[in-house]
Amino acid sequence: MTSIERMNAASFAANGSQPPAIDIRDLRVDYGNFVAVDDLTLSVPPGEVFGLVGPNGAGKTSTFRVLTTLMEPTYGEVILDGVDVLEDIESARRIIGYMPDLAPVPSDLKVWEFLDFHAAAYGLGTKAQRRERAAECLEEVALTDQRDKWCKELSRGQTQRVVLAKTLLHRPRVLILDEPASGLDPLARRDLRNALRRLAKTGATVFVSSHILSELAEMCTSLCVMNRGRLLASGTVDEVRQQMGSTERTLTATLLGRQEEAASWLCAQHAVHDLRIDLNQVIFGFKGTDEAQADLMEGMIRLGIRVRAFEEKRSSFEDILVEVAESNRRP
């Protein structure tokens, strides 16, 4: 277990004694000599909207395919809502809702027929009950007016929403969504976000991957970062940023005079770099903890430098992931 995985387990433990909705232990997936997922251990408490982020080839889709019973891992254990996915495939399939990347739809069915087929396959009551549930799900994704349309006639975004409706049909306990927001317009994204939050409130757990990171950050209660099959960080967005070692930020101190003196003092501090003076502002890079930043401010004030304002700008989550992706390209 890596330190990140220990932190993930500890944070899960802190969330209470409820068993995790998603419990992945020592998961490994190989394609020949290529290791797609490398001894991944991860726990997600129930009711979370949990994001999975990582560059291409990080192992996200392989992880999802194992979770959804579509692929047998080299080894490892996956427990979803108390069901061992590798041992009891049929029970696992009843509690999973899976929406794959570039979600396809059959060309020979109408929207309502597609939903009715899946409702019947999941055994959702009588014909009337199935239709009622299909109508609810269509309403959830704002596609009620498209129910009689052929699936092949839908736009990319509408297709995504129909597949999302299909995924919600049987009220899955664990929802696994691979890039669900791709192809959706901003309004539909907002609807998706709200729908996922509503689902999470009912106790369902949502495991979602996306390359639109800002979207994911808004959507998820917590997330994890994968790279080269390994878990790099896990927790809330801020925790992840910290775990990724990203304590880098740009600080701007607006002073009432004595800029030169402040600058020379700051340059002497080891966490400060790239300092410049712009009129009454001293702008500099700072790499350190929040405590160190507070100490820095306190030091300036003790020197008698009058600080009118102090502003910080942290590097964005995208920046961190770009850094991760670029590290993959390096030999």
């Binding site: 080299t74 080894y75 049929e90 899976y98 059959p106 027929e113 087929f117 999941y122």
Partner: protein
């Protein structure tokens, strides 16, 4: 919480099977179905009217004229179910994967058998309805022609089981083939081979293969279906070859055909269920594949051995029976030699096919060893997909050699060839042939993969035969050609029968060259096989050691 408790879908409840109903919905839409039914009714109507009119004009009474219609209608029904239905099954399955929706179907909580049956009856549902629309015409012909139910019921039972066999073939091809074009070609090729080419083996003593088709039952039913005068003639010919013999038992053609097709259907079901359960699984487990091979050997022997003493197993005797040439003429000795060689060759090809199914790829072996390491074990489970297919190949080769030997001894020591014997030592050589070729092939496939096997098959299996065949045209080069052709493992069974049986009457030049070439190439094959097996074990041991003992990065 979900207010509706999830329902199970029993496999036998086809009508409520969601996959079946999904295809009923999409393939039975009024526009598409209407045109198909219109065309079917038009063709069936045309056949009935035309054939009946011609029959009446040629002097048949109304009852016989109605009977004349039955076989053309059966042909139309065969085209609808066997050709269109099979194409639809294979194509529909591949389209599911092409569109990418097959993953949804994998995830729906139905048993693999329910899914397989849903697809089996759902994909060709329009063809079933088209077939049903031809039944009133057939019903009229049977009624007016006064055909007894004992005649048409067995025939249509076998039409149904044959339809299932064909559709299972299509479904399996559609499930396994990687892309739509290959699925189409492979399903056409497989159906053509299974039901057209392979049954021809029946003419060379492998009688069982003809029971995979509808032909024996059609032949059995013909007297009752044809106009009475023609039917009587056919019946008198049929009396020369009554019921199906299976060792000491007698079966009707219908029962035995259903039994034979049933075995194949069961194997197809197992293959498809394995694939639905886990996409990466082998089509058959090692035990099932070995059992299937032994089952086929038993059927081949069970059908062939009882026909030797009557002589009807021999191609020349079967022919003379039909044209009523002198009955006492014995079969040619070389017929028996050729039949023995073909039996060995077919057995070897079966070993190749089944061994290819159960042999793990390098990827699969690696994954298996990594799983073993994680579980703290030191060896792979003997019957797991990742375990070596070596032992299965050994068992198949030995069982095949046993079957081949019994068949050959049955032929040679029959009343037709007095004074000839097959010593038990021949079993050893037959076993050496099948072991060296079958196990060598398995070892190469497991250690080096399919690409090496394909290249070897081309340069060692096929090219020498082609060059040898060209050289054999010149009489002077025939002995050289024999040596060259002998290099191909495929020729070894034929060479074995020609060299080891006292019956063999080869031309003078070949009589010297063939036994020598056989012994030489068998020796080379055994050496090569031992070398390949040694390489395989070294490679497997190295892989196991690398995974089990190596540093973490190698694992």
């Amino acid at each position: 919480m979900n207010p509706h408790p999830p329902a199970r879908h029993p496999a036998w409840k086809i009508w409520s099977n969601p996959v079946f109903r999904r295809y009923c919905r999409s393939r039975l839409r009024p526009q598409g179905l209407g045109v198909s039914l219109l065309v079917t009714v038009l063709i069936a109507g045309f056949i009935v009217t035309m054939v009946r009119a011609v029959s009446l004009r040629s002097g048949l009474d109304p009852s016989d004229a109605a009977r004349s219609v039955i076989i053309p209608l059966l042909f139309l029904q065969g085209v609808i179910l066997f050709v269109f239905g099979t194409a639809q099954t294979a194509g529909g399955m591949t389209a599911e994967r092409d569109e990418g929706v097959i993953d949804y179907q994998r995830l729906i909580p139905m048993s693999p058998l329910s899914k397989v049956l849903g697809y089996l009856f759902g994909l060709p549902v329009r063809e079933y309805v088209m077939f049903l629309t031809t039944l009133p015409f057939t019903g009229w012909a049977l009624w007016t022609g006064g055909v007894a139910w004992q005649v048409w019921l067995p025939l249509y039972s076998v039409v149904f089981t044959s339809t299932l066999t064909y559709h299972f073939t299509g479904l399996l091809t559609g499930t396994v083939a990687k892309n739509r074009r290959w699925a189409f070609l492979a399903s056409i090729g497989l159906v053509f081979c299974l039901y057209t080419v392979i049954p021809q083996m029946a003419k060379f003593g492998l009688v069982f293969f003809k029971y995979l088709t509808i032909t024996p039952v059609v032949e059995e039913s013909l007297p009752g279906l044809l106009p009475k005068t023609v039917g009587a003639a056919v019946e008198s010919i049929q009396k020369l070859a009554p019921t199906v013999k299976f060792f000491g038992l007698d079966f009707s053609e219908t029962v035995f055909t259903v039994f034979s097709q049933g075995g194949l259907i069961l194997t197809f079901v197992v293959m498809l269920c394995r694939k639905w359960r886990r996409g990466e699984s082998h089509l058959l487990g090692k035990t099932w594949a070995t059992g299937f091979f032994i089952w086929i050997q038993t059927l081949l022997l069970g059908n062939a051995l009882p026909l030797i003493e009557t002589g009807s197993l021999f191609p020349s005797r079967a022919f003379t029976r039909m044209v009523r040439v002198v009955q006492s003429r014995p079969p040619e000795p070389m017929e028996a030699v050729a039949m023995s060689g073909i039996y060995g060759l077919v057995t070897l090809v079966l070993i190749f096919i089944l061994v290819a199914i159960v042999t793990p790829s390098t990827d699969s072996q690696l994954r298996g060893w990594r799983r073993v390491r994680k579980q703290g074990d030191t060896s792979l489970s003997f019957f797991s997909d990742a375990a070596t297919g070596f032992w299965a190949a050994i068992v198949m080769a030995l069982a095949g050699a046993g079957g081949w030997f019994l068949f050959t001894r049955g032929l040679v020591e029959s009343r037709w060839f007095p004074g000839h014997e097959v010593p038990i030592g021949v079993f050893g050589l037959f076993a050496a042939v099948l072991l060296s070729a079958g196990v060598g092939y398995q070892a190469l496939l497991e250690a080096r993969g399919g690409r090496y096997v394909t290249l070897t098959a081309i340069f060692v299996g096929v090219v020498p035969v082609m060059i040898g065949a060209v050289m054999a045209v010149s009489e002077n080069l025939a002995p050289v050609a024999v040596w060259l052709i002998g290099m191909s493992p495929l020729s070894l069974p034929v060479y074995a029968s020609s060299s080891l049986l006292s019956l063999a009457e080869l031309p003078e030049g070949l009589a010297r060259a063939m036994p020598r070439a056989f012994r030489f190439w068998l020796f080379v094959a055994i050496l090569t096989c031992c070398w390949l097996v040694k390489n395989l074990w070294t490679a497997r041991r190295a892989m196991a050691r690398k995974v089990l003992d190596g540093p973490a990065a190698d694992r």
